[in-house]
């Protein structure tokens, strides 16, 4: 397990925004540290601000009844943007439900991003148009898909990689552990990216992992690193290192990004039932955006121009998100039966046809019409 010099998570940017030199990781930040670094940093800054705005807008939309549910990633922006921006287009992402900032990096349309949470789809986007699998609800399941995909990359002789995101809670699932077995055994080009946000709903990470999460992987023969998940540069650097390892045929890596879920588990959750307000305060001081702002400021980059541009972009994205969400058309009844199979299925096709007749009959005033009337009344 790799850590920072004091055994602490790898940190390249202190909470005050100082850039710490690091013999191992500086090489992965040549672009940031170099002449064109300002552009890179400003890009990361924009990303962080925009995705936080996406998160806030989605949370607001849920409160207004426009979304059924939303899993905020507030506080986890750096982990997601740092890693997400390390990826190449031909890499493939297998995430859980909370990685909407990663989806943003992949170019997912913000309307599509809301589709699942509005209840208009089980998956928001075409996975192959952005090389990112859909939202995964079953904890840990996607980690195996990533490993299998990576085995496929390997068999194809390609130099891309798969990355899988999951939470600290997921480390308890058999699937994640089996993923590491397969990844190590086949030396598959896959990166395991754990966002340890300290909580799995109401359960603290200590209930899942008796020792730091990053300890786990070396026992499977997978190198791991513990990184400050609120440090966007550190997350970028360690992910680049892991991807390089994957691309060069040196197998899987495991990253534990130590971060914090500043919001509720989802908008349906009430974290005051199980956690301490002080904890929240402590983490607020390690905020990923203020940290990058401090750094930008120290490099003389945080002027009103930048702030203004970024704000405008965030406004724009948020407006589009809201617009696309509230005007998302309700899917037709026929969607119920579509895509269960790739072709005909005698039994299901019969059910579809009969239901069509039934609906047409209701429409024509046959049948009873109680339930339809009820639903109408409720609207």
């Amino acid at each position: 397990m790799t850590t920072g010099p004091g055994g602490e998570p790898v940190q390249l940017l202190t909470p005050r925004g100082e850039r710490l030199a690091d013999a191992r990781y500086d090489g992965y930040l040549a672009d940031v540290d170099g002449d064109a670094g300002a552009e890179v940093l400003e890009g990361l800054y924009e990303d962080l601000v925009v995705v936080r705005r996406i998160d806030a807008e989605a949370t607001a939309l849920q409160r207004q009844g426009e979304l059924a549910l939303w899993p905020p990633f507030l506080g986890q922006e750096a982990a997601q943007i740092g890693s997400g921006r390390a990826l190449r287009e031909d890499d493939f992402v297998f995430s859980s439900y909370r990685e909407n900032a990663v989806a943003y990096c992949r170019g997912v349309d913000v309307g599509d991003m809301m589709r699942v949470w509005r209840g208009c789809a089980n998956a928001g986007w075409d996975p192959f148009s952005v090389n990112m699998a859909p939202t995964q609800v079953i904890i840990g399941a996607q980690t195996l898909h990533a490993t299998g995909y990576a085995m496929g990359i390997q068999f194809d002789g390609a130099d891309s990689a798969a990355i899988t995101y999951f939470g600290d809670g997921a480390t308890s699932q058999g699937d994640l552990n089996e993923s590491m077995v397969f990844a190590a055994s086949f030396q598959a080009p896959v990166v395991f990216f754990c966002q340890n946000n300290q909580w799995a709903i109401s359960e603290p990470v200590g209930l899942q992992a008796h020792v730091p999460v990053a300890h786990r992987a070396p026992g499977f023969g997978i190198p791991s690193v513990r990184v400050d998940g609120n440090d966007v540069l550190a997350c970028l650097a360690v992910t680049r290192e892991a991807l390089e390892r994957a691309r060069s045929g040196n197998g899987p890596s495991f990253i534990e990004a130590v971060t914090y879920r500043m919001g509720p588990h989802t908008t349906a959750d009430d974290p005051t039932r199980y956690r301490d307000a002080n904890e929240l305060e402590d983490w607020r001081e390690r905020d990923p955006i203020s940290r990058l702002e401090a750094h930008l400021d120290s490099r003389g980059l945080l002027d009103e121009g930048l702030r203004g541009r970024v704000r405008a972009k965030a406004d724009d994205v948020a407006a589009r998100l809201r617009e696309e969400t509230v005007h998302m058309p309700d899917p037709p009844a026929s969607a119920v039966f579509e895509h269960v199979y790739t072709g005909p299925n005698s039994e299901l096709d019969r059910q579809r046809d009969h239901y069509g007749l039934y609906l047409a009959g209701l429409e024509a005033g046959h049948g009873h019409g109680h339930a339809a009337a009820e639903r109408e009344g409720a609207q």
């Binding site: 059924a68 549910l69 439900y97 699942v116 949470w117 509005r118 209840g119 208009c120 789809a121 089980n122 939202t135 609800v137 079953i138 904890i139 809670g169 997921a170 308890s172 699932q173 058999g174 699937d175 799995a200 709903i201 109401s202 359960e203 209930l207 899942q208 349906a268 959750d269 039932r273 199980y274 309700d330 899917p331 009844a333 969607a335 119920v336 039966f337 269960v340 299925n345 039994e347 299901l348 019969r350 059910q351 579809r352 009969h354 239901y355 007749l357 039934y358 047409a360 009959g361 209701l362 046959h366 049948g367 009873h368 019409g369 109680h370 339930a371 339809a372 009820e374 639903r375």
Partner: protein, 340 residues
């Protein structure tokens, strides 16, 4: 008698079980401090301590497997599966261990486990939160499977399930958790007529059609009986309660009178409980049947997203349509009938 919500009734039943037997322990994700995502275990960890109400790591096979180990040690674990869709990672431990251990050991090892599963749809949730997996378990010998439909049964049957020396999969219709009802807290391990857990219940007596259901759709069936009676049709509604074994004598007695059977459930049609009930009742009452048993069920599709889930879930109209079909009524539009 006290009025309480469905959820509160289960909570009260769990509390009674914890009080009654020190070997009863609750295990699950988020059931401690949070009281479970549905608050069914609210307050129990506070009152009984973290060794009786155990927050477990996030691993369903792990929960089930360790619960089995606790049963070996003489405990009586009550496992909460957070949502129906998360029971599958534990499927192997349930099917190959929980269900078979008593048989395997010729009775030496008992597995008095209760597996609580909030199930069914209609709550507007994302995927995997609205499954109806009961048929998988009803097809697994060694398990008892029950589903509750009202607060009184919830209160009594959870205690009976926990007291049972056989493993019980206990299905709770999550969309009814907030429904209220009268609960006689005197009815616990035994009801007035004995155990309710294994006994089907005639919820509404009737003469023309027998309407069988369980869990979340029972309420819709009761509504259907009222609506049908407005149209002059007398529907007998039976709440199965036990899905394995099914209490066939009660259904049989009814169908012999009515000659017509409708079965309603949310689960997919093919291979659902409805198929089993239809087949068994046809065997038992063939010469009394005036019409083939009618199934009103979810479609053979993965559970759809919430904006369209109301199409999938049998509602009042579809159940009434099923009743019409069983009666051979011409206004029936959706029948999968002979000759179509």
């Amino acid at each position: 008698m006290a009025e309480m919500t469905f959820g509160k009734a289960i909570n009260a039943g769990l509390r009674r079980a914890l009080e009654r037997d020190p070997k009863v322990v609750l295990m699950g994700e988020d059931i401690g401090r949070l009281g479970g995502v549905f608050r069914i275990t609210d307050g129990l960890q506070k009152d009984f301590g973290p060794h009786r109400v155990i927050d477990t790591p996030l691993a369903e096979s792990g929960i089930m497997g360790t619960a089995i180990g606790m049963a070996y040690r003489g405990y009586r674990p009550v496992v909460e599966i957070q949502f129906d869709g998360f029971v599958y990672p534990a499927f192997d431990q349930i099917v190959s261990q929980v269900a078979k251990l008593h048989y395997r050991t010729r009775g030496h090892v008992r597995v008095p486990l209760t597996i609580r599963v909030p199930f069914g749809g209609g709550i507007g949730s994302p995927e995997h939160h609205s499954e109806s997996p009961e048929a998988y378990f009803a097809h697994t010998p060694g398990l008892r499977v029950v589903a509750v439909s009202n607060p009184q049964d919830a209160y009594s049957m959870i205690q009976q399930a926990i007291a049972s020396d056989d493993p019980v999969v206990f299905f709770e219709p999550k969309r009814r958790y907030h429904d209220r009802g009268e609960v006689d807290e005197g009815i616990g391990l035994e009801g007035p007529g004995g155990l309710s857990m294994g006994a089907a219940r005639v919820a509404v007596p009737g003469e023309d059609v027998t309407l069988v259901s369980y869990g979340p759709l029972l309420k819709t069936c009761l509504d259907a009986a009222v609506a049908a009676s407005d149209e002059g049709v007398s529907v007998e509604v039976i709440d199965l309660r036990s899905l394995s074994p099914v209490d066939y004598p009660v259904v049989e007695e009814s169908v012999r009178r009515t000659g017509r059977l409708v079965i309603a459930h949310e689960a997919a049609r093919s291979g659902g409980l409805g198929a089993e009930v239809a087949a068994s009742i046809t065997e038992r009452c063939f010469y009394h049947l005036e019409h083939a048993p009618v199934r009103v069920t979810g479609f053979d599709i993965p559970y759809p997203y919430s904006k369209i889930e109301h199409h999938h879930l049998p509602d009042l109209d579809r159940i009434l349509d099923g009743v019409d079909r069983a009666l051979g009524r011409p206004n029936s539009l959706s029948g999968l009938e002979e000759g179509e």
